[in-house]
């Protein structure tokens, strides 16, 4: 699957509200991405990142342009079909984890399977296997609030992958974590999440995790302003930092 198009978007536009109250969030986004890639969306607040990932995740309809996700246009699906498509094809990692506090870690991980109607026992077994891979063996029946922030985000990663989605959407996955924990969490997303048949979309402000991505998509004012190779950009960033340190 590597190399096949996961996203093909041309002139994707979105405006909220109408008339004088209208706010244009996307002004014609151009972006293509392949399965097997991790693409980081970066840019200042209000540049349209959240709107764009909402459209990519099938949570929001666009107003203009064309978009194909894993071969289909989500806007051609009815609401119910789009929900079912999302259920199977999209995994989410949220900024604030959004783990249900009243249920155990393993039940949280199994939620995507239970939503699609899988039986409880095999769902929990599969969730437990995944937690083991995430280094959380022995914590399956703990409540989320008994875990550290890093552990909670690992649970969230397991939850996002348990149903083997083709698109993994990560919204600021390290913003609630300290630097070292953020690096470890990203390492885990890279190791467990990136597969030849999966596209990982990462929204972040944190330039310390840029190097985990394959490409960096810069957005500003509702447009993609440039797309760079992450390795080159990270090398450039490091050179700038080194130069500043030498100057000091």
């Amino acid at each position: 699957m590597s190399g096949t198009l996961a996203i093909e978007g041309h002139g994707v536009a979105k405006t909220y509200g109408t008339g004088d109250a209208a706010v244009t969030a996307l002004r014609g986004v151009e972006l293509s991405a392949n399965f097997g890639e991790m693409v980081a969306l970066v840019g200042p607040s209000g540049c349209g990142k959240t709107t764009f990932i909402s459209i990519l995740a099938g949570l929001l309809s666009r107003d203009g342009g064309s978009l194909r996700l894993a071969g289909i246009d989500p806007d051609e699906l009815g609401n119910h079909e789009r929900t079912l498509w999302r259920r199977t094809n999209v995994g989410f990692i949220f900024q604030q984890f959004n783990l249900v506090p009243q249920i155990s870690v393993v039940e949280n991980v199994a939620i995507p399977l239970l939503i699609r109607g899988d039986a409880r026992k095999p769902s929990l077994e599969r969730a437990a296997d995944l937690l083991q891979q995430m280094g959380l063996k022995g914590r399956e029946y703990a409540r989320p609030n008994k875990l550290s922030g890093g552990q909670q985000q690992r649970v969230a990663i397991a939850r996002s992958l348990v149903h083997q989605p083709r698109i993994l959407v990560c919204d600021e996955p390290t913003s609630a974590l300290d630097g070292d924990t953020g690096q470890r969490v990203m390492q885990l997303i890279r190791e467990q999440g990136c597969r030849v048949d999966r596209l990982v979309i990462l929204v972040t402000h944190d330039d310390r995790i840029f190097h985990f991505a394959d490409r960096i998509v810069h957005m500003d004012d509702g447009r993609v302003t440039r797309v760079t190779d992450a390795k080159i950009e990270v090398a450039a960033l490091r050179a700038v930092v080194a130069a500043e340190e030498n100057t000091e």
Binding site: A57, R86, N98, V100, Q102, I103, L114
Partner: protein, 387 residues
């Protein structure tokens, strides 16, 4: 997902116990106040139920309820007896009189005088003595609650010493006439909560202050196969008095207390208060519980939960809270009713009161659930990206 919905409810102990407390308290207040109200109202016509032999009760037309006796002339009895279709007609005397007790104390008593010949109207459940003993000179029966409460007598010569219930052989005075207790009977508690004394009709007239009109009511038995409604119309037409079937008389009495007193308003306010407590505590808490969990519902919606799945979760949470709150509330109400003796509190938990409470709890829970569901339906899953 249903199990997760219940775990979400039970797992948030502060809110869950708050919701449960609100619903339990609302159920307790609604059911308990309703049961006391029904108990009190039932007592207003207890006397009618005590005399099941009568097909019709004939009274003065101006009578408003069973205790509102309007004495009639004694000839009314013969006029009723002469109506075609009457098998028998018995006189009944009923009046509140002051009794002078053996210890010198005075007590208001409800004196009922039953037919001397047939003793129709005498208590059916006799605890001590025989109904026929009413024919003995100066004989009276007292009922158990009065005997154990207002009519208690000193057990020793010391008037301030321990007391004992009134018993067979005790002598009291009614209107300065000697009355000897020859029996103790078990009767339904009356609304007025004064001791009831049974005696014969003519002796009761003797106990009462002199009055030209002495007949309180006439009890009528219809001949077999007689249409009661037709007999009632005939009695009213031929005597000018009013005849009621026991059901009509009970309803007339009940209607008087319902419409002419503030009792229903007082109890109604307490019941409404219970409902409002349920809305304010349980409804509000359940709504807040859903609001607190909205971000998790939002995450589930993003992950592919349909609105229907989430609504089932909310409905199940509401149902579980409602059933538990109702069950606990009804249990506590029953325990309350069982723990307080009937002579101290009119409490009657009829089959329909739990249904009324269930309806009230359903309104509270469904209302709160519907408001919560609206939030869930309108929930925009992309809000989960807002951090």
């Amino acid at each position: 997902m249903r199990r997760i919905a219940l775990q979400m409810l039970f797992g948030d102990s502060a809110k869950f116990y708050g919701i449960l407390l609100g619903l339990t308290f609302a159920t307790l207040l609604i059911t308990q106040q309703s049961a006391i109200f029904v108990g009190l109202m039932t007592r207003t016509y207890a006397m009618i139920e005590e005399i099941p032999q009568a097909d019709l009760w004939v009274t003065d037309p101006t009578l408003q309820f069973v205790d509102d006796t309007k004495p009639m002339q004694v000839t009314a009895l013969d006029r009723v007896r002469s109506v075609k279709g009457v098998e028998w007609a018995s006189p009944l005397f009923k009046s509140i009189l002051v009794a002078k007790l053996p210890n010198g104390g005075r007590q208001l008593c409800d004196v009922i005088g039953v037919d001397d010949a047939t003793l129709i109207g005498a208590p059916a459940v006799v605890v001590e003595g025989k109904v026929e003993d009413l024919r003995k000179p100066d004989a009276i029966f007292v009922e158990t609650r009065g005997a154990r409460k207002q009519l208690m007598q000193p057990a020793t010569d010391d008037p301030n010493g321990p007391k004992r219930p009134m018993q067979v052989g005790d002598v009291l005075e009614l209107n300065e006439r000697r009355a000897v207790v020859v029996g103790i009977a078990e009767t339904r508690p009356s609304f007025q909560n004064v001791p009831t004394i049974y005696t014969t009709y003519f002796r009761a007239i003797g106990f009462a202050p002199a009055n030209r009109r002495t007949l309180s009511m006439v009890l009528v038995k219809a001949i077999p196969e007689q249409n009661i409604q037709k007999l009632k119309e005939r009695i009213e037409h031929e005597t000018g008095m009013t005849a009621y079937t026991p059901e009509e008389f009970s309803w007339k009495t009940l209607n008087y207390w319902m419409t002419q007193t503030g009792i229903p308003i007082n109890f109604g306010m307490a019941i409404v208060l219970g409902f409002l407590v349920g809305v304010a505590i349980a409804g509000q808490m359940f709504y807040n519980f859903t609001l607190d969990n909205l971000k998790y519902f939002g995450a589930m919606k993003a992950m592919g939960s349909t609105s229907a799945q989430l609504l089932v979760m909310v409905a199940l949470q509401g149902l579980a809270a409602g059933v538990l709150g109702l069950g606990l509330g009804l249990g506590l109400t029953s325990a309350f009713g069982l723990s307080i003796p009937a002579e101290r509190l009119a409490f009657k938990l009829t089959w329909y009161l739990p249904l009324i409470s269930a309806a009230a709890v359903t309104i509270i829970v469904v209302g709160a659930s519907l408001l919560s569901m609206l939030k869930v339906i309108r929930l925009d899953p992309k809000e989960v990206f807002s951090g």
